[in-house]
Symmetry: C2
Subunit: 441 residues, 2 copies
């Protein structure tokens, strides 16, 4: 492998794709939400293409939108991440497996235990995408009347992270001596009882599973608000960034890596991987036509509902062909709202145009030939816009096949993406250090 900086590639997966119209695209598998055989083939293909990780997005409620939009959405329902990724662990050998789990609606003992178990099952390939869950309907599924506000969610998330990583450190790496002759299964001096008592959480420990193969599963995080960036700089090892221009991405990259330097973390110990929606064609015109076809499969009812969800505010009563009104602060994801509002203001988009963007895909997209896409990715890598990408396939299986058969070989030819895995664990793939156990040398 060359000395050049290397791209890291995650596959940001929903069983049918993140795009609302994808299930209607020619060749799509509309039943993939509940058909494991499709997911199995996707994972095997991504592993054959040497992707760093299979990244499973998640929701904790059906989407918060009117029935006339909801009934059109394949994203309403799908496999649950721990069960799906554990099943994929059994039929793959090297690809990383990143599950989304919420710090707002989970308990840290279960989360620590499930990720540790997935890491053992997969021989060191687990990652935890920490989310705080922006969908207010989720609260109602977990016994809460009101959704926790944005800042409170991040405060709890930080404490939750401390507890989970503390639980992972319950046993020293060499605690399990299994001395058959003496009848000693583990050395009790190498077991730590966390006994955490904090503002949001009380958790005794120890965790009832050995320390994960990777020490800790890889910590992935997505928020790009002020609280999200600071959390990323302090604890994340992969950031699933959302900037949609190179300039914005460079600013984000410099900001987060700068925050790391400020607190004494090595900036190489965090990989910034923006989401990238990639549409491949023989020509730019063909690629654009594919995307336009895909976007045309999104109904206006779906688009306006997605827009309302991303804004955290109902704008369906306004003139669809007029401008976006002032939007009050809400508990929705601040980064998603900010991107839309910025797009509306800078490009003078109408509500109808914004709805089309929101219902399709509003973020960074690479649409063109394999060469053009590789050029763009190489530029982002070289100019410190990112350390790689989380690829969103516009439709499956065709979009995935296009990427791995046409773009990946071009990236490999340029020497900026691996031809073979060089290690076993997800940490190996990402070039991340194995965390020290905070309680044992």
């Amino acid at each position: 492998m060359s000395d050049q900086r290397q791209l890291h590639l995650g596959a940001f997966m929903r069983p049918i794709s993140i795009h609302t119209g994808a299930w209607r695209y020619p060749g799509a598998y509309p039943d993939a939400n509940f058909n494991f055989s499709h997911l199995k083939h996707f994972a095997l293909k991504l592993e054959a293409a040497k992707f760093d990780a299979f990244f499973m997005a998640d929701h904790l409620a059906v989407l918060d939108m009117p029935l006339k939009a909801l009934k059109r959405s394949h994203t309403v329902t799908s496999f649950e991440p721990f069960t799906l990724l554990s099943a994929l662990a059994a039929i793959t050998e090297r690809i990383g497996l990143v599950a989304t789990a919420s710090t707002t609606f989970e308990t840290p003992y279960h989360i620590a235990r499930r990720f540790a178990s997935l890491d053992h099952l997969s021989n060191g390939r687990a990652g935890w995408n920490i989310v705080t869950t922006a969908n207010p309907d989720a609260a109602l599924n977990f016994g809460y009347k009101d959704h926790m506000d944005h800042d409170a969610r991040y405060i709890r998330a930080r404490e939750f992270y401390d507890v989970v990583t503390g639980l992972w450190d319950s046993f020293a790496d060499d605690a399990f001596i299994r001395d058959v002759e003496a009848g000693i299964y583990f050395d009790p001096s190498k077991m730590h009882i966390l006994d955490h008592h904090g503002p949001s959480l009380d958790v005794r420990g120890p965790l009832n599973i050995a320390r994960p193969v990777q020490g800790w599963p890889v910590i992935v995080q997505a928020g790009s608000s002020e609280a999200g960036r600071q959390l990323a700089a302090e604890v994340a090892e992969v950031v699933f960034a959302a900037e949609s221009t190179l300039a914005a991405a460079q600013a984000f990259y410099a900001d987060v890596k700068g925050r790391m330097r400020t607190i004494g973390r090595d900036p190489d110990h965090l990989k910034i991987l923006p989401a990238a929606f990639v549409v491949v064609g023989d020509s730019i015109e063909e690629a654009q036509a594919k995307r336009a076809h895909l976007d045309s499969l999104v109904d206006y009812d779906s688009g306006i509902a997605s827009l309302n969800g991303m804004l955290g505010h109902d704008v369906s009563g306004y003139d669809p062909d007029g401008p976006l009104p002032e939007i009050p602060e809400t508990n929705a994801s601040r980064s998603a709202r900010a991107r839309l509002v910025e797009a509306a203001r800078t490009k003078n988009l109408t509500i109808r145009q914004l709805a089309q963007k929101a219902g399709s895909y509003a973020g960074l997209a690479f649409v063109g030939t394999p060469t053009m896409i590789a050029d763009a990715m190489e530029q982002w890598l070289r100019e410190e816009g990112s350390d790689g990408f989380n690829i969103m396939f516009p439709y499956l299986p065709e979009g995935l096949d296009d990427f791995i058969e046409r773009v990946v070989p071009e990236l490999q030819r340029r020497g900026i993406f691996r031809i073979e895995y060089e290690g076993q664990t997800l940490r190996d793939h990402l070039g991340l250090p194995r965390p020290h156990n905070r309680f044992f040398a």
Copy 2:
């Protein structure tokens, strides 16, 4: 297959065995707790032997015992059930997969969703072993200062069950029409919002996954207290019974099936499967010698700790060679305590002898030749002591190999155990009906 009543066989699994000394037994895999390849081979062998189900026991804390006992225990730590069984789902095709999940320390939305996901992943092979969690240390891992008392746990369990099954019924079986032309993914008139508000739980719904393949995963339950029996008669489809004599088992069988008749449930819709610890030898003497060797591998420190745990009371201050003192009511599992107290009184056992029993295995055991074991199982089946057994292998892999290579063929020869699976789902194997959706015809 003959018209005779048929045995149903579950494998009650811990990665190394439930027996405290098993990891020290010749040929054992002491690292099986964290080594998936062993579990994979066990599951494949059980499937080849046509077992109804692989049944994963669980704990939500390290065992509540002093370090001098804990350090000797392999049962302290292992894979988490959802992750393990999902991985096994991917490499098996027919065997049922029963996960233990607690109604005291889980939330119903997550539980409903994970079992539904496991059921879809496995094409209809999931079962839920409902437990209320007797280990008081678990409470401390989930933010509670005190453990919920026995009756309160069962009241919550019943409400939890109602919510989980209601969430599984969120969508009609035919809700997902996926009309590509019209762009309608599902029929919204076939989605039900549960909107449950009860004494312990508030859960809105709907669940964000299609109705499970089996309608509902199979409901498994273990308690044999008054509250446990009534819950079983009302909702269970498999009961993991614990009676250790045929007479007691017949009384339990008649009681629970009688309760079913009283409330109008078909008694065939519940299979009573006592736990059976099975040690196979060429002669009864050899089988007994194997068991004695295994039991000799349990240290007294481990035995007394197990005894204290099962009694919910510390008796280590009493004379080991004296009788068991009066034990006050506690929050521990009532059935485990009652069995031990009964054994102590009827057999005049000392604390040391009880500790040996508790640390080894105190329940129903079939120890003998394949013919003797098959005779006993056939008698229990014919005389309505049970509908089959949950087999506890004393040590692995030898105990499992002995059972499937020597006992299973004998049961098959007698026409009381299947030679091939006749259906696909766990409900098919157990002869259980598919539940109607309570909200849709």
